[in-house]
Structure formats: structure tokens, C-alpha cells
């Protein structure tokens, strides 16, 4: 393998610099025919090079420390200070250099390219109209798959028509004019709510700012052919580091995201959506984005009907119970509050939190009469990213991807 050989060359070894390993390009070594995960190449080769050098240095430091520890304290005391200085002077800068090398240093070239691609997606990709067929899979446990045709008309204009599975066939999701409509043929109804364009614009701004400030990190990890188009694979992490993260397959020409994958902290794919075919359009057919294009069935206002409220206090004025705010893992902050009608005719409060990459939605609903004191321990379904529990007269439903212990900590903070 060329990458492995490069590490062992004398020039690279002697230089002990990251730049020596830097020029190894993913494009040069990418296999001609893409395969699944094998093709995702680690582009942070500089880190590996550094860790090889650091490994020797670390070993030397450990050896010296062990020898030092074996020398009794009284013996150290006997050594004159001049000898201390004599020994310390050449050793200290060397140790400093070694520590610097051991510390994983981000490959700025790679990160800059990844940032550029994510910004391209946010600025150009989400403006590019297209039509195509997508496959969505939930990958943990029993695999569930759907196929849908998607017509994208620009920011806040999406139409999805489901082809399969049979239970979803004929369903239409339409986002247009700041609203979302979900036609459910098996119920003969359309759920109707707000999907504000302002919120989308705000989120784009927040992500771009996160990328600039380093709260969101991105790196290129390879490239792959998706729906006949070469894409660059970008991994996106939140400030929390090794938590759930995203992988985007971005067309570098248009910025369109052709494949999307959510992975857990161990790097296992949890859900993905990929295009089986796609055609870029000059402009999408406007008739497809008209609510009148949906079947003529009753509209049910069961989705959030207002843009998000900025604070919990604003929502508190609309509900008769005390809204509880959980203690969340570090890095999450409140990104929106809604008050919506619940299945039993009461009002549910939705608190949405984000760490820049992952979202958590906490639903707080007053319990039906006769169950006010019910307490139910958290039931966790990691596969669906769901935890549900009841405490203090409220039912809590948490949707978001966390480790089981984190669900429990959030539940404990609301008892």
C-alpha cells in the first residue's frame, strides 16, 4: 500500500514533520471502483505519522520517568542545583518538542477543504433544484427501508412521494410556503404545520458560524460515486468531539448532498439516505409545490403551527403546568420551543436542543386524568433514538441520539 510505504521512508522519518506526510492525496489512492466502507480513506495521515514519532518519544519519556522514579528522594536532594540546571537545560526543550509532536494536530489543509465543501452545500447545494429517487434506511437492528421520489425546488421547497414500503406507499410530504403538509392516504388526512423558512436561514447561519469558530469540525475522509456522480465524503463532528456524527457525500460541483449518514459514537451507521438517481434541474415544476396538488382530504392541525418561541418563559405563558428544563450533556443549548396540541387534547411543550450537529427534542405532556401521580422509569429504545418516562404529572418523550447512560441522566434531572 503506498500510504504505508510513505511512512517508513527515511526522509519522512528523519524530518519528523507533519508536512512530510501531508501530500498523500486521497484522490491519488482512491480505488477505481468504489465499494462500501472500505473506500472511506483516512485522510488524517499526518496524525498517524505524528503518532509513530510520538510513540518512540513517549516510550523514551516513560523510560526516563521510570528511572527517575527509582532514584530515592534523598538522592535527588544530594544533587547540586548546578547539576540540575545542567541536566535540565538540554532536556527541557527536547521534552517540549516531543510533547508538541505527540499532541494530535489537525491537518489544516484537509479541514479547510471540508469546511469549504460544507459551506458550498449550505450556500449553493441547498439552492440547486433537482429531482430523483432516494433510498432511506434505518440500519440498527432490523433494517427498515423506504424509497421515495424527491423533487427539490430550493430552500423550504421539497416534495417527497413514497413508493415503498407498502405501509407508506402513496404518502406525500410537502414543504412549501413556510408550511409542511403530510398526506397520509391510509388515514385520509393531511397533517398541517409550520416549517418556517426563517428558521432554516437562521440554522444555516448558525452552522456557518460554528464551522468558522471551530464549534463544528469537518474533515474530508474520502470520495465515492453516488448515483453516477463523484462525491467527496465529509465527516462533521460537534464540539463534543467523539459523539454521534454525520457523514455527507457532497457533489463538489453543485454542493448537493447526495448521501447522508448518521453514525453513533463508535462509528456505526445508524441511518442513511442516498440517491439512487438524480437529475439537476434549472427550476422545478411550481405546480408540484402547490398545496392544491395534494388530494382533497381534511387538514388536521396537529403539527407545530407557529415558528419556534425563543425562550421557555414565552412558552410557559401558554401552558398550565410548569415546564421542566433538563440538565443536558455539555455542548447542547436550547434552539427552539413550541407548544402544540397533544393526542388527548392538552398542550405539549417541545424543547429542542442542539449541539450544532445533533438535535434533541424533549416533549413534555401533562398526564391524562387519573394518572397524575404515575411514575414510570425511562424506557429506552436506542434504535429509534427514543426514551419515554413519566414523572411528576408529566410524560416525557425524548427523541435524539445519545448513549443510554445520557438518556438516564436527563431523565434523572427531571424527577
Amino acid at each position: 500500500m503506498p500510504v504505508q510505504r510513505a511512512y517508513t521512508t527515511r526522509a519522512v522519518w528523519r524530518s519528523r514533520s507533519y508536512e512530510a506526510c501531508g501530500p498523500i492525496s486521497v484522490a491519488e489512492h482512491a480505488p477505481a471502483i468504489p465499494t462500501e466502507p472500505a473506500k472511506v480513506q483516512q485522510k488524517d495521515s499526518a496524525h498517524q505519522c505524528g503518532s509513530r514519532t510520538g510513540g518512540w518519544a513517549g516510550g523514551a519519556v516513560i523510560l526516563l520517568s521510570t528511572l527517575g522514579a527509582l532514584i530515592p528522594g534523598w538522592a535527588w536532594g544530594q544533587v547540586p542545583k548546578s547539576v540540575h540546571r545542567l541536566l535540565g537545560a538540554p532536556v527541557r526543550p527536547a521534552i517540549r518538542r516531543l510533547v508538541k509532536q505527540m499532541k494530535p494536530r489537525p491537518n489544516l489543509q484537509v479541514d479547510a477543504e471540508a469546511r469549504r465543501l460544507v459551506l458550498l452545500y449550505l450556500r449553493r447545494g441547498i439552492r440547486q433544484p433537482y429531482t430523483g429517487e432516494e433510498i432511506t434506511r434505518l440500519l440498527q437492528g432490523r433494517v427498515v427501508e423506504s424509497r421515495q421520489t424527491v423533487t427539490y425546488g430550493g430552500p423550504g421547497r421539497v416534495r417527497m412521494e413514497y413508493i415503498s414500503p407498502p405501509s407508506m406507499k402513496g404518502e406525500i410530504l410537502l414543504v412549501t410556503g413556510g408550511r409542511i403538509y403530510q398526506y397520509r392516504p391510509y388515514r385520509g388526512e393531511i397533517l398541517d404545520g409550520v416549517a418556517s423558512y426563517g428558521e432554516l436561514a437562521e440554522r444555516v447561519k448558525e452552522i456557518a458560524e460554528g464551522l468558522r469558530s471551530g464549534r463544528i469540525s469537518a474533515r474530508v475522509v474520502g470520495d465515492e460515486l453516488v448515483a453516477g456522480i463523484w462525491t467527496t465524503i465529509v465527516e462533521i463532528h460537534s464540539v463534543r468531539g467523539n459523539e454521534w456524527f454525520l457523514r455527507f457525500w457532497i457533489d463538489p460541483k453543485t454542493g448537493v448532498r447526495l448521501r447522508f449518514m448518521r453514525l453513533d459514537a463508535q462509528g456505526r451507521a445508524v441511518a442513511e439516505t442516498t440517491f439512487a438517481s438524480i437529475t439537476y434541474l434549472q427550476a422545478a415544476d411550481p405546480h408540484l409545490f402547490s398545496p392544491a396538488s395534494l388530494p382533497s382530504v381534511p387538514h388536521v392541525p396537529r403539527l407545530p403551527n407557529t415558528p419556534p418561541l425563543p425562550t421557555v418563559e414565552a412558552a410557559q405563558a401558554q401552558v398550565a403546568y410548569a415546564i421542566r428544563v433538563p440538565v443536558l450533556p455539555g455542548g447542547y443549548h436550547l434552539s427552539g420551543v413550541w407548544v402544540v396540541p397533544d393526542p388527548f387534547g392538552r398542550k405539549t411543550t417541545i424543547l429542542r436542543f442542539t449541539d450544532g450537529v445533533n438535535n434533541l427534542a424533549l416533549f413534555e405532556t401533562p398526564l391524562p386524568p387519573g394518572r397524575g401521580r404515575a411514575t414510570v422509569a425511562p424506557r429506552i429504545r436506542p434504535r429509534l433514538g427514543l426514551a419515554h418516562w413519566m414523572a411528576g404529572g408529566l410524560a416525557f418523550t425524548l427523541i435524539g441520539h445519545l448513549e443510554p447512560v445520557e438518556y438516564r441522566q436527563i431523565a434523572d434531572s427531571l424527577r
Binding site: 434505518l138 423550504g156 417527497m160 432554516l200 407545530p304 397533544d342 419515554h388 427523541i399
Partner: protein, 178 residues
Amino acid sequence: MKRTMNCQRTQSLLSEYVNNTLPGYDAIGVQEHLDVCNECARVYHELRRTVDLLSRAPRYDVPDTFGAELWDRLQKVCPRRSLWARLGAFATAVWYIPRWSLGLAGAVLCVLVACYVGIPSADHSGPPSDAGVEAAMVRDAFRQNVAISAADPFGDLAAANLTAHASNSESDARPSVE
């Protein structure tokens, strides 16, 4: 003991078997049955001989109107039965249904009616069960989550919707308690 097809099923498939249009699995079943059942083997051989005779018979060209004329003649020979005649035939058929099966059907119907009338459903009697409340709330939460994910460029609307459907199908199963 290996089970083979019964005579009724075998004879219903014989035409296709003779014409070699029967799918492989059924053809093997028919073959196995014919090996052990003399009666069906006799029917098979008669059918085979008839098909062979017909295939060797000379062919004649018929006029285009042949089909329509044949249908008219058949209508005259076997006139369409009146409603009363068909009801009479149905009553005759019912008369020949075994008495015990009618009794059993009546008993099942009585039990179903008693269950419906005597045991009120959860909707009629006070608050729903814990599992019902939980399932309804979870379903609703996932639905709302689809809507609030729609405006996130880092979100996946299709995956959110599929998760909502998956949660529906799994709502009957008890969730894992950890």
C-alpha cells in the same frame, strides 16, 4: 411420513401438469401423488390420451362470427336463471352444509357478540392504559419531530419520517427497559 397432495388438489392441477405449465414445486407434488394414487393416475392417463387425440385431430378454419354464434346458441340451450331460481339453488346448497358446522358458526358469532357487548373497550371505560398512553404520545412526538426537523440543513427529513413509521409498527411491542 412425507405428506403428498390430496386427490382434489392433484386433479385441479392436472390440466396444467399435462400442458407442462405447472411450476416446479407443484409439478413434483403432482408427480409424487400420481405415483401412489391409482384413481388420480387413471384420471391423468385419460386426460393425457384426450389431449393427445385432440392434438392429432385435423384443424378447421371457422368464420370470425363463430364465437358469437356459439354463445347465442348456448344461451338458448341454457337460459339465464331467474333470481328466485338462484336463491332456491343457494337454499339447497345451505341445506346440504353439515349441521354441526352451522352450529359452530352460530356459537362463534354468539361469543363475539357477547365479547363486544359485555366487555367495554378501553375507549368506553375511563382512561386508556399506560401502554396506550405511551404509544399515542410516542407516535405523536415522532410526527411532530418530522415537522421540526424539516428546517434543518443537517437533518434528514426522510429518515425522520421513516423512524416515525418504524416507531408506529413497533409500538405494539413492549420497549426495552434498561
